[in-house]
Symmetry: D2
Subunit: 348 residues, 4 copies
């Protein structure tokens, strides 16, 4: 077997950083060789600096790894980034300029015209934007995955866009606590409560899907032209964003046709049999009270969107409920799948 | 002062029955003289049969009251009913035929053409349907209040319908556990979870508002003609239903005009200064992360709809979040306010 | 009526500070005239600086009050302090030296030999220590109330100590989130979880009761001589600490005698009819599944200890469960009751 | 490889029944060939009758299996029973008389003098009681595992009893919702709450350990002679019982000696390398805020007791916190380990 890709993780001690470590533990293509975190963690080893919050134990190989500063050089071939927005902008650019492939979960560069906002099942051809970055003189490059709420949504929208065309989407979300990082949401704010506001979230959900579902043309992405309206709420759930979707399509169709195209949806990760690819990117459950975060978030190891309650709508055309694991497919898992695609396509 | 109205409670031991007792404790116009519950509770006294679940202590006067069967005669002038649907249909009819005024929180008779579905701020003139019941030879009558989710919604819709006309409403709800009664939702079903289904709920929310906002004409109600689409979810909250609303209006208007008509909304209970009337039926909060159930459900003693995040929508016209206390304004408090209106209008 | 005492609140924006404001709203003897908080809040008004977390609305009089620095002089006669331990030590001393009566909820000075650790029902004579402070040349003085877990426990222990003598106490606690302040416990740390550790808590619970139950002799307190063993846990409850107590007594007695002395326990606040005094400091419930935080924490307006399940023990002598409201009787309410006693005794 | 043992499950649709199916899925020694449940489930297939509540999906082989009545004959060699106490007494006896090995998780027969209350790490020699049952003319036999709270506790006690002798144990528990089955605890009873009572639980915890730690002599078990005092509480946790333990030992020893004997504890399952045996039956964590149910309950696949905070006590000798997975090691996993031991010892 060929040698493994050497990976650095920026923001290694955070909630998403921990998921990176968990998902890369035993990964056949990657080996973690560098960890970086914010200044107060530097020069401590990982076990000392990290408040590990996952129910699977911290892998033993990571415990004694030192935490380094978030700046190049790091001893690795590529970096996964889950830095907070306040840092990610400049740090990621610094790494890309220094020649690293930066596979980022942060929002800063997602909407830049030369940065792929990649969901491999949907828009693998967007990796062509990497060549634009290189033409602009950057030695490395930045590739991003969407916001956690966006990923779950857009996986369900993609087959509908392909088959019927989307005209409008109204979505109301019930989002998990882990989406806010750690310490994140105070317990006193969520016990016996719902918080009907998540800073910056609605804007992301309303703009990212159109880029993801956009078409490459002349080295740029022409955004899809439908509108999205999002109302985002925090609920008392650890992992798993639930979304109530109402949708207007361009072509007339039926509930059973909707279910069929979602269930049959396949993309490059499935064709290429990428290691982290779900066998089915969209699973449609038939029970009337599903999906539920506690019962369904771990289906397909957290890499699929789970859909339920598909039915006609009285105002737009159809409605359904969907669920996605926000720190796996919505963050670390998405970035890792992106990197696997980049390997398959020869960019790593 | 005149003598108090003597009240019987059907379904006295349930969650709504307990709220009736709590809200009638010290009420200036009503005195509880009879309690009825399902067969297994009969012939026990209230304290023995009732699993009291409210944080204010059980009033001492109710403890030794005997539980009787749910059938006439009961020693009272009117009955409040919070019976389960499986019983309410025939039992309430029996009481109405026997000459009692039946003020019901149950769903069975709500949509009957001669039964008022009453929200006193909105459609006090619908009590004219009582005369239709009487013409049909019934000695007593039935008056109903809406489903808990409907009440909170329709209080916010009424001023918009009056001022601008409503064309369509899309609503996604996050509903409290107490709405399912006791024992209701199993703890294992809701810990770290959301359940995207509540049996029968969506149909009620999609059909009751049009009757409530309908116009009396020739002794019947002409239902309002807008469509509602509802997706209902159960979340881990004790009391207080949160609803994310998107709305299309007939006239063009502005966010500030929407807020103004909601905040200035007043109806018969306010004019008549009914005992349980909120001073403002709709309160609009300006903080971007409100309303929240734990912080706002007890405003106006749980009798108002709390609105927040009023803003333009990208697909329909406007969107906002609202909150209502589901067992107070959404159930027992609604029925009591109905009874207070009936007194003021001479029907009791 | 005489003029009200003018009160300053140190740490006004925190969880306990908010309870001070809530409980002083409408208080017949006190008027809040000054608010102080940490530096980042200074020079803003209260409504802007405070993240209000109580379900009763912020009183309107407090909204526009300016926040001042935590140092003398403040425009008031006495100060209530709920400062964090990192600040309370020096700040409270500064105010006491400047002549203010400092009624503190902080732990810093509790165990000082000349500072009363006051529970008015139990040791009102300890206020004699104020004279010691004055003899030592301090113009003002400091009076403290115990840790939240201690107060609830010691109210139940006091009548037992008086009647039977205590030899040993083993207590295991299940403590509420509000005890950690705001933001305090991260939601991801407590959802579907118990945390078996609260920093510094066990030591306080194991040492404060002996001072509180100590006897004044020659201007100092001789601590009671029994041992306490505490294991403290955080559970997913908003307000209300539950404690499982096992106790060894010096005299033989019976369960019914234990219940009787607890239920009949009365102290100075009851005799003096202090405004915030519970009519019964200890309430014993007979239902086998009580006390429960959500149902019982607001009994006596949160100022009593609620006891249940009193029964014989197989190893020590007796065991029971108790509950106390940690931010009312366990913090702000305790301090206010202390101040009311000081007025009654002529110290304010 | 030899043929698999054919297994029937009594009470297959309940919480523990589901764990049996999950844990037996892919088990090398057992094959599920019969499912039985209460009358209302009979003659339906498993998928229709079972409200599956585990986060791993229902195995496909079980979906179409028919549910049969809980009475012999069933098409299997042995039966696992997780019937409710109201049924288990007679049904288990019927199966034992009919010649089946009954491996029971129910409490009914646990304390019978000829029934092993088996924890294979501790008292594997107690299976000699099977011979007593057979001598009494029973064709089959009954073997039981302890109550969920007892198992977790006794695994930690066993090495202490062996090394130092136990004189007294005081334990306060914080127990998970799944321990009450489904639907079990109502959500309204546990949101923002603790319930300080679990019917029948304390008695079990106070009596079972002495039998488990008892010595076989002359075909009967001489119970160990220490006393246990238990206070049991329900908290808002899905799986994992936490227990605060205070203990008095017969010999003097140290904290580090305690930790050492617990960490080094090994029994028959480890020596025999039984399939479901944890490599370490007791794990001692050194972090001061552990064990925590959400983070630690799945260590050793839920088959170990996790101990933390071992320290000296001020009244008895030592105290510590422990955690056990109540539906794995506390129920289905315990029964399966018992069956594995019985195979190894030639009883199956």
């Amino acid at each position: 077997m060929s040698k493994k890709i050497r990976v650095g993780i920026l923001g290694a001690t955070g909630m998403v950083g921990q998921r990176f470590i968990q998902l890369l533990d035993g990964h056949p293509q990657f080996e973690v060789t560098a960890l970086a975190a914010s200044e107060r963690s530097e020069s401590r080893n990982f076990a000392d600096a990290c408040n590990w919050k996952l129910s699977s134990p911290m892998p033993s190989w990571v415990k004694t790894m030192p935490l380094q500063a978030c700046q190049p050089p790091l001893d690795c071939d590529i970096v996964f980034s889950s830095l907070p927005s306040s840092m990610a902008g400049t740090v990621e650019t610094d790494f890309a300029r220094a020649g690293y492939a930066v596979i980022s979960n942060s929002s800063n560069h997602r909407m830049a015209s030369d940065v792929p906002l990649l969901v491999p099942e949907i828009n693998s051809e967007h990796i062509g934007l990497i060549d634009v970055q290189r033409k602009n003189g950057q030695k490395g490059y930045i590739v991003t995955n969407p916001n956690c709420t966006t990923v779950a949504l857009v996986l369900a929208l993609a087959p509908l866009q392909q088959a019927f065309g989307i005209e409008a989407v109204i979505v109301s979300t019930m989002q998990a606590l882990s989406g806010a990082g750690y310490p994140g949401v105070a317990s006193l704010d969520i016990i016996d409560n719902v918080v009907p506001y998540i800073d910056g979230e609605e804007k992301k959900v309303e703009s990212e899907p159109q880029k993801i579902l956009g078409l490459m043309s002349n080295n740029s992405v022409i955004h899809a032209d439908f509108a999205i309206s999002a109302q985002c709420h925090r609920v008392n759930v650890s992992d798993g964003h639930t979304e109530a979707v109402t949708i207007k399509l361009k072509k007339k169709t039926t509930v059973s046709a909707l279910i069929e195209v979602m269930e049959n949806f396949q993309g490059e990760p499935q064709k290429l049999k990428l290691y982290s690819a779900p066998s089915k990117p969209v699973i449609v459950l038939s029970e009337q009270n599903r999906p539920q975060p506690r019962l369904d978030r771990d289906l397909e190891k957290g890499m699929a969107t789970i859909v339920g309650r598909v039915r006609e709508d009285t105002i737009l055309d159809f409605r359904f409920t969907l669920l996605g694991h926000n720190t796996i497919r919505g963050a670390a898992g998405a970035a890792i799948l992106n990197a696997e695609l980049l390997i398959a396509k020869g960019y790593i």
